[in-house]
Symmetry: C3
Subunit: 343 residues, 3 copies
């Protein structure tokens, strides 16, 4: 079950060029394509003629031409034309509210008329010259909520990512979890520690002494329907940590949009928005590659976890304090789903 | 559901050499093998001893020797012998009427006693010195009727095969479909057009000017249980088209035998019988290779269409005039199936 | 259905080093690991925290550390510790009686309190300086009882292994099958025959004339829950065959432990214990490689047989005298299962 009256990331802007892109979002098969002005349309991915996915076709001007017999599907789901055919009474395909913003294609898989552009999440780092962003997309064969659990409990870093971002102090510091409006926030602060490899690199890039003792923070913010933004960083110790002046800290936001595909799979859009070396595109590539490797480790864990849970449907799991972030996020999702069903 | 009291192509003659061949026809697992005289037998592909498919064994003289413990299966489904065993009361395997003709192995998957050699289709081009034939076989993961639809509506050529046999006039000319006896015939005539690449090649091979304006025809003939013969060709314009004298036309028959394997898969025997350069075996190879590539494009479409239809079982498809050939063929199949069930 | 109150081989000793090993035995997912003294533990392969298989973790001292959040699982199924967590009321994982003996890890998948070390099979060739052993393990996608059938009827050697151990006299000699206590014994004796390739090699290695006429024997011994030991060998003809003096015979035991994984798959531990050239480890490797190839031929047959039987669930198989060994073994298994259910 998913929240459907909400915006999900369907693709990155760079994934959608001149060819149509078929993608399943919340169990709905949707084809995305750009019209002649580059504006994105989202239509049911099924040719009303013989059922071929329209995403196998090609874009011509403002229409999507089916790859089998040339039916021309318009941006509003109407059949615009077909060779030698009267198409005025062809059934319309469902369309989906879709919008491009901040480098992502956003789709609303629920009721069309409820779509509200004001509900698009605020991404303060996007289109902001003080920030640089790099990221990618993975297909993960696991329930999207397992990814939310993963991101709302970073204590796994010591075990899954021990060689890059793990450090023993993560296990030593308790987390605090709270519901703040429509956000679940779970945070961990590590004071006066040595920076782990990734953050040493960031400090060097920033021109700070990478051997200096630092304060480190992780503030995970879940927001419905399915995004997790994590404030992460280190500051020279004793300067206020997360609140320290930007000159003495390396600060970034881990960006995670988690889009359900089927009950057992999702699309994972991951990235890092950072405040240092923002003009250095080589650094962006290097960080993206490293982050891609780290998140690959998560994918492997999640897919094995999914297989294990599917094979043991009756087993109860534990819910510890470190799990509070994931548990509270799931309850928030559930609350929204219930609300949608009664509206 | 399939017509079963009818002949289907099970294999090409060249597929069946000295080794047994296991193939599923209308959901029945059958092993084909040649006896010492080269005559083909067709027996249930299941060893009555321990259930190994007999097609994993080997042929010795007139029997098929099981690859596990050496049970010898005869051409009539009887166990002929087995080391140290009395076999007279072994249960018999089902056998199938089978016949080799025109380069194909034909099998009758229904009631043995109803098999009638007179029902084998007439193939006027086979064993005829005025014609040359080349072809192949594909396994296609799609309902066999999707292939019939495909072949009875060639308007897809412009979209699926745009670089070889498509041309815009296909879309411009309407088709005419009729039931003639036990054949569904759907035809399209394009007058005074430029020949597409394949037919330019044929005209050159024939010694005709490949830049000449031509009349082109496509006459698709479906016949139960599951074959489509398509008269195709071009003639120098104004000479009567299909009826023109052979000296001014390049004329061929696209040969398609479509044999159901399971509800979602079939064996597709395709080929081309042509009237020009019939002694030129190099040309036969070149045409066969090109046709194989074209039909590979169809396979990809059909397999994706099958996945889409399976995922959307409740969606209704359109039935346009271009679909009449496929629709009428399906009704003819259905009529035969009903008749079989009431007999 | 399986006998569960019994010892099964779960792994070879050399498969289990410093990393945990996850393996499904009789449909139960179990993780095996060695503590700091090298003693093996067997625990349910499921982390009580978030369900990741524990076998993806690592061993530290006497505990298994989960690869996701560091839960430490003890050898008795108890959670020993977890970073920052009180673990005293965590639910315990199921544990399994497990013991290492004769180069194998043995597990008891049934009731813990019924486990009885005296029920471990006697392996007279193990840890015996007069014998050499080499073997391996295969995963086979077939009901474990199909492997028992295979090993209790060696008449398949002429068809499946014709180039190595088959010979026509196998088919010519009848087998004798009997139940002796809790063993099913099926034997075949071939007198005054030429040795097949494998045994010619053994005779040469032993210093015997490999062209000599021999007496050959095959005595297959099935024992519950699922092992088959086969006495095999050749002796210079007229010296008593199996009972001949060791100086005139080449004698070995084919070792087969067949451990059910799921209803349609099993782990097959195969090997050969031999009495000649016991100090020659090169010979051990060569024999092991050859045996591996022979047993690979069996695997292929069994997996195809399983597919065929699964596709034809209603077909009855024959039960001939050569099948008596397998049939009697199956009845013995069934008797034990019934007894377990009523106890």
């Amino acid at each position: 079950m998913y929240i459907v009256n909400s915006w999900y990331v369907a693709a990155t802007s760079e994934e959608l060029k001149d060819k149509p892109l078929g993608r399943t979002i919340c169990e709905q098969e949707i084809v995305f394509f750009r019209n002649s002005s580059g504006v994105v349309a989202a239509v049911e991915d099924f040719c009303p003629h013989r059922g071929l996915p329209l995403s196998l076709g090609k874009v011509e001007g403002d229409v999507l031409v089916c790859g089998y017999h040339g039916l021309c599907m318009g941006q509003s789901g109407e059949t615009v034309s077909m060779p030698k055919q009267q198409v005025h009474n062809f059934p319309c395909n469902r369309t989906y509210p879709v919008i491009e913003k901040a480098g992502f294609i956003w789709v609303w898989p629920g009721d069309f008329e409820k779509a509200n552009i004001d509900q698009l999440p605020e991404l303060h780092w996007a289109d902001n010259p003080d920030w640089a962003y790099g990221g990618g997309v993975y297909h993960v064969a696991a329930d999207y909520r397992l990814m939310i659990d993963n991101l709302m409990d970073l204590s796994h870093e010591n075990y899954v990512h021990s060689s890059s971002i793990g450090q023993k102090e993560i296990d030593e510091q308790p987390v605090h979890t709270k519901l703040e409006g429509d956000q679940v926030i779970t945070s961990r602060f590590m004071e006066s520690v040595e920076a782990p490899p990734f953050w040493k690199m960031a400090m060097r890039q920033k021109g700070l002494d990478d051997n200096a003792i630092v304060d480190r923070w992780q503030i995970c913010r879940f927001q419905a329907p399915s995004q997790v933004m994590v404030d992460v960083g280190v500051a020279l110790a004793g300067n206020g940590g997360f609140d320290a002046d930007l000159s003495v800290k390396a600060y970034a936001v881990i960006v995670d949009f988690i889009t359900p595909e089927t009950p057992d799979s999702h699309w994972y859009f991951w990235g890092l928005a950072r405040t240092w070396g923002v003009a250095d595109s080589v650094m962006t590539s290097i960080i993206k590659e490293g982050q891609g490797e780290i998140f690959q480790e998560d994918m492997d864990i999640l897919e094995r976890q999914q297989l294990s849970l599917s094979a043991n449907p009756k087993r109860r799991l534990l819910s510890l304090d470190i799990d509070a972030g994931g548990a509270m996020s799931r309850r928030l999702i559930q609350k929204h789903i219930k609300k949608e069903q009664t509206e």
